[in-house]
Symmetry: C2
Subunit: 176 residues, 2 copies
């Protein structure tokens, strides 16, 4: 993994890919699948996300205030669904799905070696957690796997239907 400048993090999440979210509580790592996230600020990068109280990861996220957002390419799509269909309350998902945890630098939650990007995050605002399970995270360190060239992400349309990234077009824009 190679370090990614924090100023570029929004370019990974703004397009709305399905991501994995890892936590580690009392030495036990877990991972869930997530699609409800958005950028809130460019730099330092702030990300809002919804982690339901029904998700086993919720308690770990609340207790530790730390997580990693890992971005999988389409080659991991089947695995991403399996992670979403199972609960860390019953199995060790890293073990069950042969995901490789890597130590992060600023948080206890692990990076995922198979993902092309990993974002180390700290919970920075819990004001809307009770109402909406909405957490605001600050990305404090970002990593990218330079060996994965032009990774294609997936976007969930409900009930296991995913659109895969197609062509990239470039238009003359003043937008960041």
């Amino acid at each position: 993994m190679q370090e990614l400048p924090l100023s570029k993090v929004y370019q990974l999440l703004e397009p709305g890919p399905v991501v994995l979210l890892t936590t580690a509580d009392k030495g036990r790592a877990n991972v869930m699948t997530m699609s409800w996230h958005m950028m809130v600020e460019f730099e330092p990068p702030l990300v809002a996300c919804v982690v339901s109280g029904n998700d086993y990861s919720y308690a770990a996220l609340r207790a530790t205030g730390e997580c990693v957002i890992a971005v999988p390419a389409v080659e991991l799509a089947t695995l991403v669904v399996q992670v979403g269909n199972s609960s860390g309350s019953k199995i060790d998902k890293f073990d069950a799905f042969a995901l490789t945890p890597l130590p992060a630098q600023r948080v206890a939650a692990p990076l995922i070696a198979e993902c092309f990007a990993n974002l180390e995050c700290k919970v920075t605002d819990t004001d809307l957690v009770n109402k909406y399970n909405l957490f605001v995270l600050e990305v404090v360190k970002a990593w990218i796997d330079p060996a994965q060239i032009n990774p294609k992400t997936i976007h969930h349309h409900g009930y296991g239907r995913f659109v895969v990234d197609g062509e990239m077009i470039t238009l003359d824009s003043k937008m960041r």
Copy 2:
């Protein structure tokens, strides 16, 4: 436009498409381009979004508490960038870009005839507006254009680079 059940709204926004957001204040309609949004609840559909204080639409959204999220297909990509590159403080964007406003049913902000989906929204929570310009919207009415078959959306990667929807894959999932 044909009515879309509110229970299906998340299937449009969860994949992270670039959208247009319309407002109408004192009889004057405006439209901006937006990528920072996410689902917060399935039904009634709640959507969080960030509308910067620098956006001309911000004042209208605060004053009226209403907007429409319109989802454009890739054929509108050039226009979407033009909308994002200009300000309603200087021009009438509906006129300048030949967008067709249609009356909404529950809000004063207009639908956009050229978009394949239109979501009428009311601001339901402003608790995080001062801190992050983060609005929570409730979708109160949703419309889809049945004439646009399998529309492909676009996803922004920064500086005018957009990924266009590619193939749709279906995996065996227990996730809604």
